[in-house]
């Protein structure tokens, strides 16, 4: 019974880990926000502004910044949209002009991949070290088998409540 329970638990954790990993990959690899295609020009402009930061302030989104330089940038966005420029090209224009610091989303390329490497490394480190630690704790109990032990008074009491459930 103990081995079955352990296998069931391990299977549960593996399933959780797989679901978590899939979810993580899905979220981590999804593209950045894209402006709505066509239609509402103002909504398009706003979506582009939300991808950019003020070049002078600290971590202030372009769409909410009131500095003159940001007012100019908003004007450029509208002009270029009017001229038919694709949103990605407009973002690229500001990136070339002011540098990567005006991008709200860090580009997933070149040196910046080190950051994602850090994320992956952190996940791997915690999973491996934590898993190893868990394995050692678990193995110790197998080497020196301990009885499952009676549930604590709280748990016994709770179990009794659940048993009474209709």
């Amino acid at each position: 019974m103990g081995a079955v329970r352990a296998r069931a638990a391990i299977a549960g954790f593996v399933a959780l880990a797989i679901v978590g990993a899939i979810a993580f990959v899905l979220f981590a690899t999804r593209g950045g926000p894209s402006a709505p295609a066509g239609g509402d020009r103002e909504a398009q402009a706003l979506a582009i502004e939300r991808q950019l930061l003020c070049p002078q302030c600290t971590n202030e989104r372009l769409d909410v910044c009131t500095l003159a330089i940001c007012t100019d940038m908003k004007g450029v966005i509208r002009e270029r949209l009017e001229a038919g420029a694709p949103p990605d090209d407009i973002v690229l224009y500001f990136r070339n002009r002011y540098g990567e610091r005006v991008l709200r989303e860090i580009p997933r390329e070149g040196f910046n991949l080190l950051l994602f490497g850090w994320v992956g490394g952190s996940l791997a480190l915690v999973a491996l070290a934590g898993g190893g630690f868990l394995y050692r704790l678990r193995r110790a109990s197998r080497v020196r088998p301990a009885p499952a032990g009676p549930p604590s008074p709280d748990d016994r009491w709770l179990d009794a409540q659940i048993e009474r459930e209709p």
């Binding site: 610091r101 850090w118 109990s141």
Partner: protein, 667 residues
């Protein structure tokens, strides 16, 4: 001679001498087994707190009496400021903030030395020496790098005044809570370090650290929540958390502290995770010191940072020393840190708590990496970059959902494990609720996978906790015949920690739902309108009536320009708002938004004015933020639960009698 400055500087220097004396006396007490020396060392820590209280009072007097001969007063205060903002300006600049930080730390340490140290005689000298060393390190910085009692080279007529962004009632409460929360991590750290130094790493130090850790968790959480509320109501960007480097620094110590509050229970009950618990308290303090280094060094640009100063390298050394000393102590005592018991089952509450602490530490590592990466990019790639919210949303978001899932499972799974049949029975009802709620949300139009997963997990957390309350109250009702409300209230008296903790979980679940809805379903509108014209924001029509100006003649405000806006839904007028902009006499280039919010339980209508021209045609931004009010309600529930858990424990007789020998009273 400036008497006030001389007295203040003397108080700081004497406090430094007292902290150093506490170290020396503790070492002597340990070697000579001298009770008198130990007593003197404890008194020295109390003296540090008293002296710094005096220093705070002196600086307060200087601010209230407009003594601009002090450089700090001249830099952050002005004659026109109200007394409450003069007090708030005490902790607004680098030197004042450092004095407040060290004072708060001294108060915590004094309380620790007065309340806890007498109860831990086996590590008392080590604890007092560590407290002295920690205090001494900050007092040294205060005395030699950033003294708030430095005298101005000339006497100005008036001060510059408080930074415009800080002229807000939030300034009166947010920084004190946050700074106190950050320094409060020093107490569990001191106790952990003392246990390591004394070579007694069983459950004894844990029992005494628990209350301090819970207090630290409470104050730090309140500080962060107030920061979010302040950002939301003042900064004028429609959000409450921007993943700014300094915001990150404030939340980083909270993560290991939360993990510790859970895993300490495993050590209390089972004698396991000794090493991990020490790592967590040491990490929390190291991250708090890193946070102050981050804010004070100017290393990472942030809306919160102080100007770059020579204090940065000093704090970098301090962070390094904290980490090296902590690791050294752990390695030294590694043979004593073996678990006293084994894990009976992977499907146990112990495992759930441990794995959730792994998630917390992963989040901390990711946030730390994101915070520091711009520095590395500039240093090694010669490129200035910004690691903004999209990175954190993508990486931390899934981890937070995993945390919620584990929170739900952890409450259901019993200690030491349970048969699969029991687990299925316990999970059946919450899983059904989660499934039904998720389907209902999808039917109501929620299509975003992240929103569905997050809301489902949060509902799972809340439902397992509500189920625990219901089962507990029903049991008490049957046993005692009390009515439902009395039985429910009696649960908290029966076990504050457990049922207070469930309330904290419910608060987290409510906050998670508010965060998800307000981020994913935020509706933003920008409109340029002339007086008398209207624009739409969500289901509302906003009519711009007029623009008017006021001169409040206080706190350095030059002029406040406000727009009167009538908000209607259909034919019904639901609110009148007055968003605007405030400019300051001494800071003409730093106007501050005046945000107007019409709040309800369903949504906040959040409006600010972007600008206007000579014809009074104005540009407005309006956000409809769904369920934001629930963020503050969830926060209040979270705080209430923590306060209940923090209340002195009335341990039930049955639990004392039934506790496994050596499990909870091992020390």
């Amino acid at each position: 001679m400036n008497l006030l400055a001389t007295l203040g500087a003397s108080a700081v220097l004497t406090a430094l001498a007292s902290a150093l004396f506490a170290i020396g006396a503790s070492v002597y007490a340990l070697r000579a087994r001298s009770a008198r020396a130990q007593h003197a060392a404890r008194r020295a820590i109390l003296a540090v707190a008293a002296l710094l209280t005096g220093a705070i009072a002196l600086l307060g007097v200087a601010l209230l009496t407009n003594d601009f001969s002090l450089a700090h007063v001249a830099a952050v205060s002005s004659r026109e400021m109200e007394p409450r903002f003069k007090w708030a300006s005490l902790y607004s600049g680098q030197p004042g903030s450092l004095l407040f930080w060290t004072w708060a730390m001294a108060l915590f340490m004094a309380a620790f030395v007065h309340i806890t140290v007498p109860r831990v005689p086996w590590c008392a000298p080590h604890a007092v020496a560590t407290a002295g060393a920690v205090l001494g390190a900050f007092l040294f910085a205060l005395a030699f790098f950033a003294s708030p009692f430095a005298v101005s080279p000339y006497l100005p007529e008036d001060g510059v005044g408080l930074n415009p962004l800080l002229v807000d009632p939030g300034m009166l409460i947010h920084p004190p809570f946050l700074l106190s929360g950050l320094v409060s991590t020093s107490v569990p750290f001191t106790l952990g370090a003392a246990a390591l130094l004394a070579g007694r790493v069983d459950g004894a130090w844990i029992r005494h650290a628990r209350g301090w850790a819970l207090l630290s968790f409470l104050v730090l959480s309140v500080g962060n929540m107030l920061g979010g509320w302040w950002a939301y109501t003042v900064l004028g960007w429609g959000g409450y958390w921007g993943w700014d480097p300094v915001e990150n620094s404030a939340i980083l110590p909270l993560l290991p502290m939360i993990a510790f509050l859970h895993t300490l229970q495993v050590q209390e009950r089972r004698g396991m995770l000794k090493l991990w618990n020490l790592v967590l308290v040491l990490a929390a303090f190291a991250l708090a010191v890193f946070g102050t280094f981050n804010v004070r060094s100017g290393l990472v640009s942030s809306v919160h940072s102080f100007a770059q100063s020579e204090i940065g390298p000093y704090f970098l050394v301090l962070v390094g020393l904290t980490v090296i000393a902590s690791l050294g102590l752990i390695v030294w005592r590694l043979p004593d840190l073996r678990a006293e018991a084994e894990l009976d089952s992977l499907a146990s509450r112990e495992t759930g708590m441990l794995v959730n602490s792994y998630v917390m530490i992963t989040i901390a590592l990711v946030v730390l990496g994101g915070t520091l990466f711009p520095v590395f990019s500039e240093l090694f790639n010669d490129t200035r970059i910004t690691v903004g919210p999209p990175f954190y949303d993508d990486v931390v978001g899934p981890l937070l959902i995993a945390m919620l899932v584990l929170m739900a499972i952890g409450v259901v799974v019993p200690w030491r494990g349970a048969a699969p049949r029991t687990l299925v029975r316990r999970l059946r009802a919450p899983a059904a609720i989660v499934a039904a709620a998720t389907v209902a949300l999808a039917w109501l139009g929620v299509r975003d996978g992240f929103a569905l997963a997050g809301a489902g997990a949060a509902i799972g957390v809340a439902s397992v906790c509500v189920r625990e309350y219901a089962l507990g109250a029903r049991g008490l009702r049957r046993a005692t015949g009390r009515p439902w409300p009395a039985a429910f209230a009696a649960l908290f008296a029966r076990d504050q920690r457990r049922y207070g903790g469930y309330l904290v979980h419910i608060g987290v679940a409510i906050m998670a739902i508010a965060v998800i809805s307000s981020n994913i379903y935020q509706d933003q509108t920008r409109a340029v309108v002339a007086p008398g014209e209207s624009f739409r924001a969500g289901a509302y029509t906003l009519t711009y009536n007029r623009l008017y100006a006021e001169r409040p003649n206080r706190n350095g405000i030059d002029v406040e320009v406000r727009a009167e806006i009538t908000v209607s839904r259909g034919d019904e007028v639901v609110a009148t708002l007055a968003p605007g902009r405030r400019t300051f006499t001494n800071f003409p280039g730093q106007p501050v938004a005046i945000v107007a919010i019409d709040g309800s339980f369903a949504r906040d209508l959040y409006v600010f004015i972007q600008g206007w021209d000579e014809s009074l045609t104005a540009e407005f931004q309006a956000f409809v933020n769904p369920l934001v009010r629930w963020l503050w309600i969830g926060g209040a529930v979270y705080v209430l639960g923590t306060v209940i858990a923090l209340a002195p424990r009335r341990e039930p007789a049955r639990e004392r009698a039934a506790s496994p020998a050596g499990a909870t009273e091992r020390a």
